[in-house]
């Protein structure tokens, strides 16, 4: 992949891209969400970290096999930061997988107000220069 994709609209990844993060983005294009696992102590991280928070060893990317989660908390953003003004309103949700790992993303297909505890499933979206993960109800 020669060109950097953006993780979401309104965001330039230029300042964030590393080989490790690039691998994450390329997997995301294949509709794979990657967590990371410490090569030394086995701790797991979502979103992935290149360095283990506990022992600072290197982590490797590994695919999340969990696809179903529960809504831990949410917010409806009616007044957005300038970079996402064109998308408001949108819903940001923290979903919790059965393993306890959590993921922060938008819920994109809501028809009613979300409720804490409701089931969510992982989804993906890619357009021109943007690739992202999202929650679906």
């Amino acid at each position: 992949m020669s060109e950097h994709k953006e993780l979401y609209l309104g965001y330039s990844t230029d300042k964030a891209v590393t080989p490790f993060f690039q691998d994450f983005l390329e997997a995301l294009e294949q509709e794979k969400l990657m967590k990371s696992k410490c090569t030394s102590c086995g701790a797991e991280y979502l979103p992935p970290r290149q360095h283990c928070q506990k022992c600072l060893s290197e982590c490797t990317l590994t695919e999340m096999t969990e696809k179903e989660a529960k809504l831990y908390s949410y917010v409806v953003v009616e007044f957005a930061p300038m970079s996402l003004s064109s998308k408001q309103p949108y819903v940001v949700a923290i979903g919790e997988f059965p393993s306890g790992l959590r993921l922060t993303a938008h819920i994109t297909n809501l028809m009613a107000m979300p409720e804490v505890g409701m089931p969510l499933r992982l989804g993906f979206e890619a357009k021109e220069k943007m690739v992202t993960y999202k929650w679906l109800v």
């Binding site: 993780l7 979103p47 908390s73 409806v76 953003v77 300038m82 408001q88």
Partner: protein, 388 residues
């Protein structure tokens, strides 16, 4: 053994949309009352002159500009930055220098100029304090982080927005009596409950203001205090803490872990308990933040904050008066000035110098300041003791 340190004087600019001033003029406005009291520049050994974000004013290395503008030439100065706790972080750093004996008398001044950019741009800058890789791309604004706490609190404890509206009504009730406040007007419960949505479940009246302003205090070592005042406010306890960078990584969203940590440390250092505190200035960047503060500071059990609100125990004549100057909500929240402004207000209340008796808290011998940065990544708690 560290030397005891007291706050001996303070000054405060008018908070608001200050298109008549920038960081330099606001700083002068906050420092002038101190000079007028006789604590002239030559008596200040060193200073910490801080603001949270240079993006708002466009001025880099601003402590140099401020020091020069307010006449502190040749005296050492620096800036301390830690988001919305910039003011108390500056005070904490200055306390250390005075307690250790490096300096005897220091000026701590916090300032922020925020209204030269649009609200959407100000929201943009503040959202960049979230994790730039994993949070910012999803447009999680500053109120959005606290809305995530509010949704969770409502779900865990069955709280409704009514509780938050009552906190906003109280803030505006006291802000209306504070001549320095940015939005000094009363609001009704209905207005607070039905205002335009910003980040649901939080609406406009749940949010603090985007404010320009400055506040300053002078601290002195115990052997020098008498030169400046016979009413010193001793710094009796200092606690600081931190919470996980990403809000999703916190074990709980109904508490700010770093605030509990900071509060415990401050109570321990001061040798006092929550029930001993006569007033608190808490970091109500959002109404939900004030509610959570009651619990993190030990004024209410977890989940019982709404009862404290319902019983109006947080009013000036209640069990634990909170933010009887209007708080960040009505007085305003110029990021770097806020923690210093809180400290100034405790001194004012201790001295019985509130503008009118309907916001003056009776007999304050111990006051607390709770200052939170971002969504809890920084927290400072100070306990002050009346010295006369």
């Amino acid at each position: 053994m560290a030397r005891r340190v007291a706050v001996v004087a303070g000054g405060h600019s008018k908070f608001g949309k200050r298109f008549d001033a920038t960081v330099r003029e606001l700083s002068a406005e906050a420092f002038k009352p101190i000079v007028d009291e006789g604590i002239t520049q030559d008596k200040i050994d060193a200073s910490i002159l801080s603001y949270a974000a240079s993006q708002f004013s466009g001025q880099g290395a601003g402590s140099a500009l401020i020091a020069d503008y307010i006449g502190l030439q040749n005296r050492p100065h620096m800036r301390v930055e830690s988001a919305c706790t910039t003011g108390t972080a500056s005070l904490r750093a200055a306390w250390g220098m005075v307690a250790a004996g490096l300096y005897d008398v220091m000026l701590v001044l916090g300032v922020e100029q925020m209204n030269r950019v649009s609200s959407a741009m100000a929201t943009e800058y503040m959202s960049q304090a979230g994790d730039m890789r994993w949070e910012y791309p999803f447009g999680i604004s500053f109120p959005a982080f606290y809305a995530l706490m509010a949704s969770r609190y409502m779900s865990e404890y069955g709280m409704t927005h009514d509780t938050l509206a009552k906190i906003a009504v109280k803030s505006h009730h006291y802000g209306a009596q504070n001549p320095k406040a940015h939005l000094p007007k009363e609001i009704t419960f209905e207005e607070a409950n039905n205002a335009v949505a910003i980040c649901s479940p939080l609406n406009l009246y749940d949010c603090s203001l985007i404010t320009d302003g400055a506040a300053a205090v002078v601290i002195a070592s115990e052997d020098r205090v008498k030169e400046f005042t016979d009413r010193p406010m001793w710094i009796k306890g200092i606690g600081a803490g931190a919470s996980e960078m990403m809000i999703q990584d916190r074990a709980s969203l109904t508490s700010i872990p770093g605030a509990k940590y900071a509060a415990n440390a401050a109570y321990k250092m001061a040798g006092v308990e929550p029930k001993d505190i006569k007033m608190a200035q808490v970091h109500d960047c959002f109404t939900i933040a004030e509610l959570i503060a009651y619990e993190d500071l030990g004024f209410a059990e977890p989940g019982k904050g709404p009862e404290l609100v319902e019983n109006k125990e947080n009013y000036h004549d209640g069990r634990i008066p909170v933010n009887c100057d209007g708080g960040l909500k009505s007085k305003g929240h110029p990021l770097g000035a806020t923690g210093v402004s809180m400290t100034y207000e405790v001194m004012k209340q201790m001295r019985g110098e509130a503008e009118n008796s309907s916001r003056q808290i009776d007999d304050v011998d111990l006051g607390l300041v709770h200052n939170v940065g971002q969504s809890g990544q920084f927290v400072n708690v100070f306990i002050f003791e009346r010295g006369w």
